[in-house]
């Protein structure tokens, strides 16, 4: 892989490191050993298990784990909340749109199609220019204003919330359409099932049939999809974070790639992959919980 971190540091300090400093750097980066790739790989895993991801090149000498610990929460909060809101909103509207087929509700489909095609980050760009620059309503850069410090104070929290509004709205706008259309189509398809007709035939109130008969069945793929989506929380917001210079893990990853900061990149990749795997497992569990047909054992 391209790039020697020591040389990068040399460039950083404009070649003014003493010989000892260079050697020390080599030791710190573990390059001095000139081990085989496999040995180095094995040692890496050994370190990881101890929570030691090495030192970041970009933010040298900050340990990678610190860098990640600093930025991960921002992403988790922003993207996590946005994905949840987008899912709830899209699913609810989708349920009603599917139930009340016809007329105005059906026009949500082409609208949704348009939204599906819009690149989320472009929405962000537009939002930045309209709300941030032209209208000056909301801040458009960073996770919090520069005159506060990360802490659990009211000032910081309100500043963080303020800075989070536009990025969150951007993500929500970008993801709501897919949820909506998916749920609506599932509803329409479920409503042709016999048991929904039976529900109506039983003289049950409309809302009850809509929610407990139709939606309860139609929502199954949505729920699983949601669990899977959560897995992509960490990586999905990269572009949005870039647009808003939001200090999340996507932003950090991008900087890391730019400066060939391998320890950081590796660690972030690991975290992302673990998150996705965890989400997949969670999705499987959720599916079993939610759909009784998957449970074992016939009683008859």
């Amino acid at each position: 892989m391209p790039g020697n971190p020591v040389e990068a540091q040399l460039a950083h300090h404009q070649g003014q490191l003493t010989y000892q400093a260079t050697k020390a750097l080599e030791v710190a980066f573990g390059i001095h050993l000139h081990e085989s790739v496999w040995a180095a790989y094995g040692q890496y895993w050994g370190n990881v298990i101890h929570g030691n991801f090495g030192l970041s090149f970009t933010y040298f000498p900050t340990p990678v784990s610190t860098v990640i610990a600093r930025s991960l929460p921002w992403t988790l909060c922003l993207v996590g909340l946005s994905v949840i809101i987008a899912w709830v909103l899209g699913t609810l509207i989708g349920i009603v749109a599917g139930w009340r087929r016809g007329g105005w509700w059906d026009s949500l489909i082409p609208a949704g199609a348009l939204f599906q095609g819009i690149p989320t980050f472009w929405i962000g760009l537009i939002a930045v220019s309209v709300f941030g620059i032209t209208l000056h309503w909301l801040p458009v850069s960073g996770g919090y204003s520069t005159n506060t410090v990360p802490s659990w104070t009211g000032a910081f929290i309100s500043s963080a919330l303020e800075h989070g509004i536009l990025p969150a709205l951007t993500i929500i706008f970008g993801s709501v359409a897919a949820n909506l259309i998916g749920m609506r189509n599932m509803m329409v398809s479920t409503m042709t099932e016999d048991f929904v007709l039976v529900g109506e035939a039983k003289g049950l109130p409309r809302k009850r049939v809509m929610f407990r008969y139709a939606a309860r069945n139609a929502i199954l793929p949505s729920v699983v999809g949601f669990a899977l989506n959560l897995g992509f929380v960490v990586s999905g917001a990269l572009l949005v974070e870039q647009v808003y210079s939001y200090p999340g893990i996507g932003y950090v990853l991008f900087q890391a790639v730019g400066s060939e900061d391998y320890p950081l990149m590796q660690a972030i990749f690991l975290i992302i992959t673990l998150t996705v795997l965890a989400a997949n497992i969670a999705a499987d569990i959720v599916f079993v919980l939610v759909d009784p047909r998957t449970r074992q054992g016939a009683m008859a």
Binding site: D194, V198, N217, V290
Partner: protein, 340 residues
């Protein structure tokens, strides 16, 4: 014929369908599923409706209960329901609230092959008691559970299965649950659309026997829809035969069997062999039912009818009734006079 059938005691009229017409779609593409259907159901009676696929018998059931789905539309007609203690009314003009109240309390429906008629994600007990929750709000939870136990006992399903999910039961059991569900509020009429078609004959026999017993005990009317005329001959008090969206004959089961009037009915009867008696050549019915988008003028059956004459191509024979029998044919009359 076996004696699982209680003696026919035609009470007063409980449901009258008059001139009911249903189209699927519109204008030139419209499929005329029902064309001026007339039908009468008496209290405590088991009315069988027989006909081929596409004859409109299932459409009749959903239209009469206003469960018709898009693109189906009722274009004309009335469905008059006669409650025991109040004046009759037209089901088709009920407002939403009244319709919901009427549903399941007065008329319930059992669909074909309960494969999909039960909500797959809810337990059986919940599906039995939700009608009670809605229609009998004064019942307590314990009462409802009690009633659920009673209902499954009625159809011979063990108690423990109350808390199972539908996919854990066999097809026959699910159908029995559907029947139990249909009886939950003690309705006057139970409509059954091909309830046993997808089940094997042994299970079919069990279910039908049980149903007859329930009828004898609780006294509700049944509308039994099926393509199997031989089954209806055993089961029904009265049989209505449908063809191409119209009722072509209605009469007590015995009369249908011994002396069918409409040529189509004759054809149907000749289509299945009798277990006893000399071997006869099966006649069957030539041709196939008409495309309901382009129903031939005049009598819909004339293209396959051995009696067809010129008048059959021009005029639609009206359904004439006399003396508990009706028939729609130019050459047959319910009064058994010889016509032309």
């Amino acid at each position: 014929m076996n004696a699982a059938r209680p003696p026919a005691t035609p009470g007063d009229v409980v449901l009258e369908v008059r001139d009911l017409s249903v189209d699927y779609g519109m204008d030139r593409a419209a499929v005329h599923a029902l064309d001026g259907v007339d039908l009468t159901l008496h209290r405590g009676e088991l009315l069988g409706i027989a006909g081929e696929s596409g004859s409109g018998k299932s459409t009749l059931a959903v239209a009469a209960t206003r469960l018709l789905r898009a693109p189906g539309r009722i274009i004309s007609g009335s469905v008059t329901y006669h409650p025991r203690d109040s004046p009759p009314f037209d089901v088709l003009s009920l407002g939403d609230g009244a319709l919901r109240r009427w549903r399941w309390e007065q008329v319930s429906i059992v669909f074909q092959a309960a494969m999909n008629s039960l909500n797959p994600v809810t337990r059986i007990v919940a599906q039995l008691t939700d009608v009670l929750e809605v229609h009998r709000p004064e019942m307590s939870k314990a009462d409802r559970l009690q009633r659920a136990h009673e209902l499954v006992a009625l159809v011979g399903i063990p108690d423990r299965l109350l808390f199972a999910f539908p996919h854990q039961l066999s097809g026959g059991m699910r159908q029995r649950i559907m029947i139990a569900m249909a009886l939950a509020l003690g309705p006057e009429i139970v409509i059954m659309d091909e309830p046993t078609t997808a089940l094997d004959v042994v299970v079919q026999r069990e279910i039908l026997t049980r149903m007859s017993a329930l009828r004898a005990e609780l006294g509700f009317s049944v509308v039994f829809i099926t393509h199997d005329l031989s089954l209806l001959l055993e089961l029904s008090d009265t049989i209505a035969v449908m063809y191409a969206g119209k009722v072509v004959e209605q009469a007590p089961a015995d009369d249908i069997y011994r002396a069918p009037l409409h040529p189509y009915t004759e054809g149907l009867l000749g289509s299945f062999p009798s277990l006893v008696g000399p071997r006869v050549e099966l006649v069957g019915l030539a041709g196939s039912p008409p495309d309901l988008r382009r129903v031939p003028p005049g009598c819909a059956y004339h293209e396959r009818c051995p009696l067809a004459q010129e008048v059959c191509q021009r005029e639609i024979p009206p359904l004439e009734s006399a003396d508990r029998r009706s028939v729609a044919c130019h050459f047959r009359s319910p009064r058994r006079e010889v016509v032309a």
